[in-house]
Subunit: 305 residues, 6 copies
């Protein structure tokens, strides 16, 4: 064995600095796309920032006696996006995620802007899976269009719902919306909303239970986390910080309570490193991913035992 093999570190830029573990079910896929971002671009630097932040975290779970390196991950690198062309980029995402699903793996997509979730939704649809959605976000993203754009981040959930028919969607953290969006959300039975003020009023555990109840009959669940669902004090590094979001511990607890063996995929989006002093948004994003993986792993292990 040469000294190059010993001393050169090939894995240093992998998620959490972990060597890929081919047996792991969890595939990290970066999508550094932000061309439709309306105000402050920068989420294209999100995937690498989250990978690095993950290296700075210890690998323990806050909730169980388990460590990420015992499970392992596969970091597939980034989708080769087409700058300025959301449609082609979405096509590539759909292609890649479809492959992941066919391999019976669980895709964990790291953005990039929220729009990319739609590419993932299409892959599930294509593979015959219609998951229910849990969305942590300050916004509904239910506009029919925004600044003339049908396929932008402000419309991603509108498009996804159209695609997935009557699937259920449970929002957590929503507090900012247009009149149109609010009315749309109120008029639909398949949309449930937990505002931060609801958590304050009924308590975190009751709020979580209402989500569980709403989704009780779902066969598959997909989790999409727009980091602006968190309060700006915990996640300053986003394009549109909106006061009054959930705390980091609330978010982590929600993950730990809601993720189970039904999870088929997840994404964490809208981390904008140029606005993320100290990297605290990236670091929360990484911690969320770690807990998603560890909780799903435990759930699957229990189910299979």
């Amino acid at each position: 064995m040469s000294l190059k093999d010993i001393y050169l570190t090939k894995s240093s830029k992998n998620y959490a600095g972990l060597e890929n573990n081919k047996n792991s079910r969890y595939e990290i896929i970066g999508v550094p796309f932000d061309s439709s971002t309306s105000y402050k671009p920068g989420t294209r630097f999100g995937p690498d920032a989250i990978r690095q932040a993950a290296s700075g975290l210890e690998s323990n779970s806050y909730f169980s006696d388990i460590y990420l390196e015992d499970i392992g991950i596969i970091d597939e690198g980034d989708v080769g996006i087409v700058i300025g062309d959301i449609n082609e980029t979405l096509n590539r995402i759909t292609g890649v995620i479809s492959d992941v699903i066919q391999e019976n793996k669980i895709p964990i997509m790291i953005g990039g802007e929220h729009t990319i979730t739609y590419g993932s939704m299409r892959a599930f649809k294509k593979q015959g899976i219609t998951p229910c959605l849990i969305v942590i976000d300050a916004h509904y993203d239910l506009r029919d269009e925004y600044l003339g754009l049908k396929n932008g981040h402000a419309s991603v959930m509108r498009r996804s719902l159209e695609l997935l028919g009557g699937t259920k969607i449970n929002y957590i953290g929503v507090r900012a919306y247009s009149k149109e969006e609010k009315n749309y959300a109120l008029s639909k039975n398949n949309i449930n909303t937990i505002k931060p003020s609801d958590i304050y009023k009924v308590g975190l555990i009751n709020a979580i239970n209402s989500v569980k109840k709403f989704l009780v009959d779902c066969k598959h669940i997909y989790l999409s986390i727009d980091m602006d669902g968190f309060d700006p004090s915990y996640a300053p590094g986003v394009g549109n910080p909106e006061p009054g979001g959930i705390t980091n511990i609330e978010g982590l607890t929600i993950i730990n309570q809601i993720v189970d063996e039904r999870l088929v995929g997840a994404d964490v989006v809208e981390v904008s490193p140029p606005y993320d002093q100290g990297g605290i948004t990236s670091s929360l994003a990484a911690k969320l991913i770690n807990e998603i993986i560890m909780k799903n792993y435990i759930s699957l292990s229990k189910k299979n035992s």
Copy 2:
């Protein structure tokens, strides 16, 4: 109509990106002055940062079914300040705010350093109005002078109280002071102080009620928000971050509870964009302004109906 009329966007730098609505009662006035700032200058960039942050927010209220664009605003631009000359700058503020009051409008001043509040106070005095004051701040700003300066931000409330005679002032968030200021505040009947620890001890609602009671017989109310009244986690972008302030939701709830039809004016000061990573301080400032306007509008509508 020419294509220039269609495609050129004249209003893009207005508050919240809204076209001026001449029928609105709310006049936004920037004062980009920071010459007496003792440590970290930068609040001169506050007005534009708050305008931009407002464009990133949705226009809904957190507390009522109302939207800012249904009310409208008039963004008057900035007072032409004189750098290094606080006296002339205060004269200009007084002149401009007097005009606004005479037009029967409500001035919402965005700073700039806290000193500018004194210019507004003089305008009210000149127009025969002696408002009670609600001040959100980490500090009393009651020094008789500071570093040889009589008219600096550390003395703005001392000067204002001298001007307005026995008017009442209710502080919220104060936690940092000199011995002199504390003794001065304790010795005066017309000064009431709600510390963050008081909110913690008695609860937010009780704290708000004590403010309401203290100001119950006031005919007019002026609200002055120094962003350092908030905890640095919610408002890092200020000159003097002081640990242990109020949260963003506490601040917004206070606004929603205390603003009523007696409000004659308001200011939001001390946002320092160079120290405001992710723009979360600007964005909280803008949200506070939105809720001030929406609550006063509702109160006036109820009174008039």
Copy 3:
């Protein structure tokens, strides 16, 4: 006259802080578009940064006894771009610039990414004008496509040449290119290239004279300045700094020598404020614009006298 009229400064965000002068021939038009930027986004903040930088410059010319405020400008504000949609954005640019041309004014477009020049080219074509082009750039931008994009900044001159048929184009500052671009440029008679090393070898005056000679029979001239044509020491705030460009004084001298009464329009693009410490790139961009306007004004005055 009210004090608001006296003290509120409406023009503070206009180019160079100048009030619009309706009699001026020079129309400043911002295009804050950067969605197809391949590596470091940020030129969307270029227009405002250049406006502000212009306020920091004195108004004298370096070459003649003339002052910008004696000529005046009209700052039309920004084209309302569609984020992520280069085609619709180009349509709007074409519409706006067409209007300007019809008013017999000279458009000075400030970017934004280089792609926007194509919108301007189409407006001239539409109005029956086929200008020769002078392009200051480190790159040819002559790729047939780049990363799957036909209408991106790397192809803007290829598309423009296709549009304008056999028009002449004179590059200054080019030093970085693909094999394809170099061969394309070499194969065309209507393309002339002055590299920085040519200026070094033959001297600035001889280099300028060769440009003049190449363009001697052009009826109309359009000047497009990609700030990366300058050396990174003079223009660090660009997306792709390429060592070995022209100096600021060389660029200003070129402007002063080459701009004459045939100029029908100009643009200055690719200023990226997030990467422009001290604002020196913005400030050079503003100075270039000032000298373009002042030299064209002198040339027109001479011709008309």
Copy 4:
């Protein structure tokens, strides 16, 4: 007296801008060392940032009617560290702190990386003092080695425990660890851990009481604060932000409750100014130091009266 004596300010860079008071027991000692920092260097700038932040704070205590300037401090400046040589640097720290102890003063060390605490521990050992430790930290720092380094920040408490034999150590804020560290900590009777989730579960006062009880028979106490023990929203400016830490008010309350007359020294480490937007981490660090000094002073006064 010359005008130079009057107008030149020699103390402006001292801690809190205070002139040294030779009668004070509190000696501020900076250690700008960060050579073993694994990811984001920058704590070498910590000492000066904390000194400056202290100048921005008012001098009152949040808990008692006392002011820092009535007690005074001695700012001894910085230990002359040897970059890249942790062993020699530790030797110098040990030398300096030994001197301080012999003068019967209380050293307050400001870092710099956490490793420097070991230099201080050796000084106490040398002077015949074996303090119990209270450590606020997100991490145990109990690794036997890390990246081949025995004397790095990840091992500082392991080395200190080895040095001080069976002394007690009470952690507050720990939430991130390797399997090895967790097992080590669980296996030792002299290690007590208060996680943030414990504070949440039992309440702050009960948590504090359990610390008091654990340390009840300690004769001397040394307090070491790694700023990453705080939640990243309160302390973003650290090398490894780990979600879910204690709040600033919890930290200050803990200080106020736990510091008593047994305190023999303290340190505040891991402030990394390049990652500390708005300086809120420095400013919390300074506030913690102020309250440590004021509470110890009160405790000693009571004991001596």
Copy 5:
């Protein structure tokens, strides 16, 4: 000798990290004042940035076999300025500099904004010295007033000339001015101007010789360097970068050629650290100061030998 004496470094924040040498003739005096700065504040951080930058430089001269540490300096710290009050600040500067002159020392003032030079001028006048001035600047600073301010940086040389009667002033680097200033400068026999374009046209040595000739009958010389006299590529960290200035080597050569035994004082102003990426402006400022001191020392030594 205690270990504290050995290991604690008291001088680490002195200019160039040098211990004060009481026998040196050169007194460094910081003036962290920027209250009248019109656009981008920040020069208040200049003095410390220059001190630190000096520590990063080697101590050799570029022109002679001499080293700064063989001469030594006295760093007196900073004048205690009054924020927002230029008149009182100027009084203090005048007081301090008068003391320095009376001690027969040479003051080297580091700014801070250019306005502070006037305080120094008054001190010389008061001590019966009327020096000729050499001013490196992009601007004349000869406005009668600017934005209503008589004593601002844009008027500092106008005020100084009024104070010093018919003294001679030689500008180097001027290229940006109002019509009023240009006409004023042209109308006066005691004002000589070397523009950057003059250096280009006649060569550096000839340009320097014309300065020498103009000042040949001056008994005393004071040198004032506004860093914006340099090209923005060499000095980006200034409030108003103006393209086309002198190079760092030109500036250093000018210093080396023009400074002689007649020098009675100097200042280096307008370094603005927040805009000075990489600290290259500070570092040039420090190098200029080093060469000023070393050249004057050599000149005096020759004269005295």
Copy 6:
């Protein structure tokens, strides 16, 4: 072939975004080590910044009709350094570089601080090669020790000369040194120095010729580029910017003239991304590497044909 194979981009973080070409002779090896950096740490981020900057450059040579992608590179990733332990890190560098030499490849090391060059020197020595050195640097790095450190960046050439016996070393760009270093350099026949002022005096071509002559009898040449050899206007992103260095075009021309078939290895060090606004230092570093590779390739091709 799966869509993952098509759309996932594994090579995006390789040098210049190029896939490794196993037939290439050029091996890029990063060494992200900066633990002995005395003032401003940050060069540990250099390797990745240079890799990314290389992706932003076109692949053409400025001097010949050749393109980097026709030659190809092998990016080996980074040496796994030991933070704070220069000796072990040097051992690993020596091990890795030895492997590269044995494979008959040419190592291009990217730093990291200058100290790492010593690791490379030991590898050549070990493999029986004693190259002559060409060093571009503002400094001699010939101190016997610095701040107590024998193996720091300030001594790297002293240690290397001791190791390599009487090998020749030719400095280019040196302008800052201690008395000791200057005397050492002057006293040795095997040391030749080209200062920036020499280039100015004799012209670039003559200066280059004197280097060629000095090294004419060398069998092997190693090129070490400390980016602070360049003027700070071209390379602001370094730890110790020293005014008056060489220009980017001078540096590139020197490379093109001096590199020939004798080159056995090279390094480019001291790029400090946190201080490198706009990335212009990284981008110059990458361009230097590209031209080194392309010129050596041409030289070898000629020799072999």
